[in-house]
Amino acid sequence: MTPALWIDDVSFAYGDRPALEGVRFELAPGERAALLGHNGAGKSTLLRLVTGLVKPASGTVWVGDWDTRAKSPAELARRVGSLFQHADQQLFARTVRDDVAFGPRVTGVRAGDAAGRVERALAALDLEAVAGQHPYDLPPPLRKLAALAGALALEPALLVLDEPTAGLDRRARRLVTDALSARAEHGVALLVITHDLAFAAETLDRGLVLERGHLVLDAGLASVLVDAPRLGRLGLAPPPLARASTALGLPGLPVRERDVAAALVTRCSA
């Protein structure tokens, strides 16, 4: 099976400042990867490469069987839905619904089909009630959800997201977790930059760690989240449930709320 994304020995520099060096990994359809690392480790650069906004200095970024060098960002948007950190800069239409509809329209989706995609995306993030409002009349967290809905409406094979939960409240974070999990179950690959390791634990299952432009770790996310010394060296820390799991020595070191709760029930009734 062709990977949804193949980063093949990719390097990139801003002028003489290297941002990524010799990075390689593959992402299969339906895989859910967290991209972790310090501020400035090269995570956002990797997202720009995948969306075709910049091209690799060496190596190749493959989105399915497309070399990003041969495609414009607009063409790549048929396969890659993206959410950037400055999410509110992605919005420009007069209503949330028009904004979410923009991607399907410019990537050549037929009108009837596009309308369905837009409504599914709005519903997934519970945005129907604000769909007629101007994006800039919404508070920043809802603007972020609107931008994410725009990425979902492309119904792409790959979603690359930069901090999708920053500033979101509990209810909105759960909507994001549920929407992304549902897409992944239908074969969409996820590559998510996040510092929100509690969200990552609930939503994702593979951990890719970048450090100063190098991929230094590629492992199961749960094993990464309980490895306090390793995370500590990367400027990260295990989320509370991973710390609790480790401190109590819960069997299998679970990191998701459901699994930790079940282990606690067993522990406390013993």
Partner: protein, 263 residues
């Protein structure tokens, strides 16, 4: 000594049918850290703008306010996304951090001292000669925080100060907030980082649709079952997993709490 007093404050944005804040009374003392929590649209950001004297006023936000807002000393506000607060008029991080103090009309030596001290405190000295436009989101958030501190406020108002930061950066900011309070600053921080609160703040105010739903010590507010209502902000991850497991109270809030209960 009270640094901030809000007395029955109601605030309505221009052309808005409903009030963003309704009958809010709040006292924050020097040396105290108060967290504002609530779902999106709860009014926490508006409460910070009102406390800063920027809504209405300052030529920034219009609107209609009733009740009274009193501040003892200069207030400085950190906005939720750093890109909205960068001056756009500085070519280096040092000049960006100096922008606020320069606008206060301070002599050059005082500006210089305050900027250097703030860069050190927020651990961004290494960025001092960089162009702010080339910084990552987390770097820029720390630079903007340095600019806020360089104005030497008595009242520090922070809107989601850790949202763009990695865990190490977030931990640094929470530690710094505690140090600043110990030096006598009054701190009000709107945050969705509930897990940080038990070890970082003295009191919590839960806002819901512009009103105070509950306020009290961090422990009192975060142990409440009502925080798990569908539109409520929730409590800590540890309180959440304890509740999901259906275990009896008192609810642990932190990992050490949980370990002592479940060992």
């Amino acid at each position: 000594m009270s640094a901030v007093v809000l007395d029955r404050v109601t605030f309505r944005y221009p052309a808005s049918a409903t009030a963003a804040l309704v009958d809010i009374s709040l006292v924050v003392n020097s040396g105290e850290i108060v967290a504002l929590i609530g779902a999106t649209g709860s009014g926490a950001s508006t409460l910070l703008l009102v406390t800063a004297g920027l809504a209405p006023g300052g030529g920034v936000v219009g609107g209609e306010l009733t009740g009274e807002v009193r501040r003892d000393g200069r207030a400085a506000l950190l906005l939720p996304t750093p890109w909205t607060q960068v001056s756009g008029m500085a070519f280096t991080v040092w000049d960006e951090v100096a922008f606020g103090p320069a606008n206060l009309g301070w002599p050059r030596e005082r500006i210089s001292e305050s900027v250097d001290r703030s860069l050190t405190r927020v651990d961004v000295v290494h960025l001092r000669d960089r162009d702010p436009g080339t910084l990552s989101g987390g770097e820029l958030q720390r630079v903007i925080l340095a600019g806020v501190l360089a104005m030497e406020p008595a009242i520090l108002l922070l809107d989601e100060p850790t949202a763009e930061l990695d865990p190490a950066g977030a931990a640094l900011v929470w530690r710094l907030i505690r140090e600043l309070a110990q030096e006598g600053m009054a701190v009000v921080v709107a945050t969705s980082d509930i897990d940080a609160l038990p070890e970082s703040v003295d009191r919590v105010v839960w806002l819901e649709r512009g009103r105070v739903r509950t306020s009290g010590t961090t422990r009192q507010v975060l142990a409440g079952e009502d925080l798990w209502e569908p539109d409520a902000p929730g409590s800590t991850s540890i309180a959440g997993v304890w509740r999901r497991a259906g275990l009896p109270g008192p609810v642990p809030l932190t990992v050490p709490d949980l370990v002592s209960r479940a060992r």
